[in-house]
């Protein structure tokens, strides 16, 4: 398995020297994201996010399961992330790297542990039956910013997802198919979005949404997760350069603006998709043909 190619010395000096002169290789300013693209699949709960060249696919699915015995009133919500050789030949299947573990934990902390989904609403019969919602994150192309991109993909897919309706009659539980009853959306309490900062030159320079090359050259990094109300869900800083408290506050302030922009963007795309679906479904139902 080939290893990830490290930037050459001249590339390194060039990038770092350019950063000193307030320039980034792709011409962005320090506090801007790459172009964000979001599209939804035919099925409910399939979101395809492109952040610059980085491309992530999130897929939400739900099935009925038995709740954990210590939490009889809660449904089950899981996020799985697996880096495969499709994203980059350096990633191997079946063996978890440190990067993969950190990524999985970060996404888990940002979305599941921040209570983005109301797990109690996933309960069908206490202690007996509940919905198990799982999100599978597939990385198609790795060009830095995997955390930010997968977080956007997961929250977008969760908002797009519809689960089958359920009715309980005594002991009997009926799961209605998607055509039988209008499927219900998940109850989402807030939408957390991750913003990753990369630090250079002893913390003097901080970049938002670093590319793979910039990620390889950074001295330290930090991920802040916020929702649009400005509530901090988590701050992750696993080693690297120490950062002053004031710089952290400044980062959080900038991140809030970004988070609000991204949330609005996701909302806009969701509404577009919804109008497209309503129009299509209504057309499908309005045929004049009779069964012969």
């Amino acid at each position: 398995m080939p290893r990830e190619l490290e930037p050459s010395t001249s590339e390194k000096t060039f990038v770092l020297e350019a950063l000193k002169q307030k320039l980034r290789i792709d011409g962005r300013d320090f506090e801007s994201f790459r172009g964000l693209e979001l599209s939804f699949g035919e099925d409910y709960g399939l979101a395809d996010v492109q952040l610059g060249k980085t491309r992530v696919l999130a897929r939400v699915s739900a099935e009925v399961a038995k709740p954990f015995s210590d939490r009889p009133f809660d449904g089950i919500f899981q996020i799985t992330t697996e880096l495969g050789p499709m994203a980059s030949p350096a990633f191997e299947t079946g063996r978890q790297t440190e990067q993969e573990v950190l990524l999985a934990r970060l996404i888990e902390k940002a979305i599941r542990r921040s209570g983005a989904i109301d797990t109690e609403s996933l309960c069908i019969v206490a202690g007996q039956k509940c919905w198990q919602v799982r999100v599978d994150v597939h990385f198609l192309h790795h060009d830095g910013g995997l955390v930010d991109a997968s977080c956007i993909a997961v929250v977008a897919a969760l908002q797009h997802f519809r689960r089958p309706d359920v009715s309980v009659e005594g002991e009997k539980i009926i799961i209605h198919t998607l055509t039988e009853r209008v499927p219900v959306p998940l109850s989402i309490l807030h939408v957390p979005i991750c913003v990753t900062y990369s630090f250079y030159h002893g913390g003097e320079i901080s970049l938002v949404d670093a590319t793979l090359q910039e990620e390889q050259l950074r001295d330290g990094d930090m991920t802040i997760t916020l929702n649009k109300f400005g509530e901090v869900c988590q701050i992750a800083k696993a080693g690297g350069l120490p950062i002053g408290a004031l710089a952290l506050l400044q980062c959080a302030r900038v991140a809030l603006v970004k988070v609000q922009e991204i949330t609005a963007f996701i909302q806009k795309r969701l509404e577009e998709d919804q109008t497209l679906r309503t129009r299509r479904d209504n057309l499908l139902e309005s045929t004049a043909e009779n069964p012969r």
Binding site: L57, P85, M86, P89, D136
Partner: protein, 240 residues
């Protein structure tokens, strides 16, 4: 209402070759890396080691994915000129994006096979891996009572079918791969092969499309030829 098949090439810049293929409600993405460095235990002294990885849309890799991997490997291994790149690895990754039904059973697995094979072949072409020939695959369902054949069936058709066949043909029209399930007579199988060959044939260069119109749209072979031609034209436009 049938959804027309679509394919695209070369959209993942990090991998050497990539392609997507969707047929009906099934949609997959394949990427190819190689020839590249191989793990020592997999190294073959006289030929390239071929690795196929299938990743499910939902959940983790299980027996279904292992089954698909082994089928794809047996179809792809003979067409790759392995001896051109000894002591290297050619890695094919197939990512399922959407499968036909929500349930996991033999039928939905079978429906994944043809699109995966097509996407893998297109990705190999995009990566420039030397091939002996190009395979294009399709699914054919055989209904016992009426003896009717359904080419590229939907999930509902397959549930009613007595036997289901996944067939792949080379561009010369030779049968390169078969995976059949169910009961059928030899004569029926011959008809199935003929129907599959019709859909998979690439058509000749400069063939008029009018003659194909009555069969209802484009066959798999033609679609694959079309996307590859478009890609080559786009890549070589600087020469014009």
């Amino acid at each position: 209402m049938t959804i027309p098949s679509t394919a695209s090439l070369g959209f993942l810049p990090r991998s050497d070759g990539s392609a997507s293929f969707s047929q009906g409600r099934t949609s997959v993405i394949a990427s190819v890396n190689g020839p590249m460095e191989v793990r020592i235990r997999d190294e073959l002294p006289q030929e390239a080691y071929i690795e196929v990885i299938v990743r499910p849309a939902i959940g983790v890799t299980g027996t279904r994915e292992k089954y698909l991997e082994s089928r794809l490997l047996s179809a792809l291994k003979p067409i790759i000129l392995r001896s051109n790149h000894p002591r290297t690895l050619i890695q094919i990754v197939v990512q399922v994006v959407q499968s036909a039904g929500s349930e996991d059973n033999a039928i939905t697995t079978l429906l994944l096979l043809a699109p995966s094979l097509n996407a893998a072949v297109l990705a190999l072409l995009d990566a420039g891996v030397p091939l002996k020939s190009v395979l294009s695959a399709t699914t054919v369902a055989f209904l016992k009572g009426s003896g009717k054949l359904i080419v590229e069936p939907e999930l509902e058709d397959l549930k009613k079918a007595a036997s289901k066949h996944v067939l792949a043909f080379t561009s010369a029209g030779l049968l390169g791969f078969v995976e059949s399930e169910g009961e059928f007579e030899y004569e029926d199988f011959e008809r199935v092969v003929e129907a599959g060959r019709n859909v998979c044939s690439a058509g000749r260069e400069g063939d008029d499309n009018d003659t194909k119109m009555d069969t209802g749209g484009q066959g798999v072979g033609e679609l694959m030829r079309k996307v590859v031609r478009e890609k080559v034209e786009k890549d070589l436009r600087w020469r014009a």
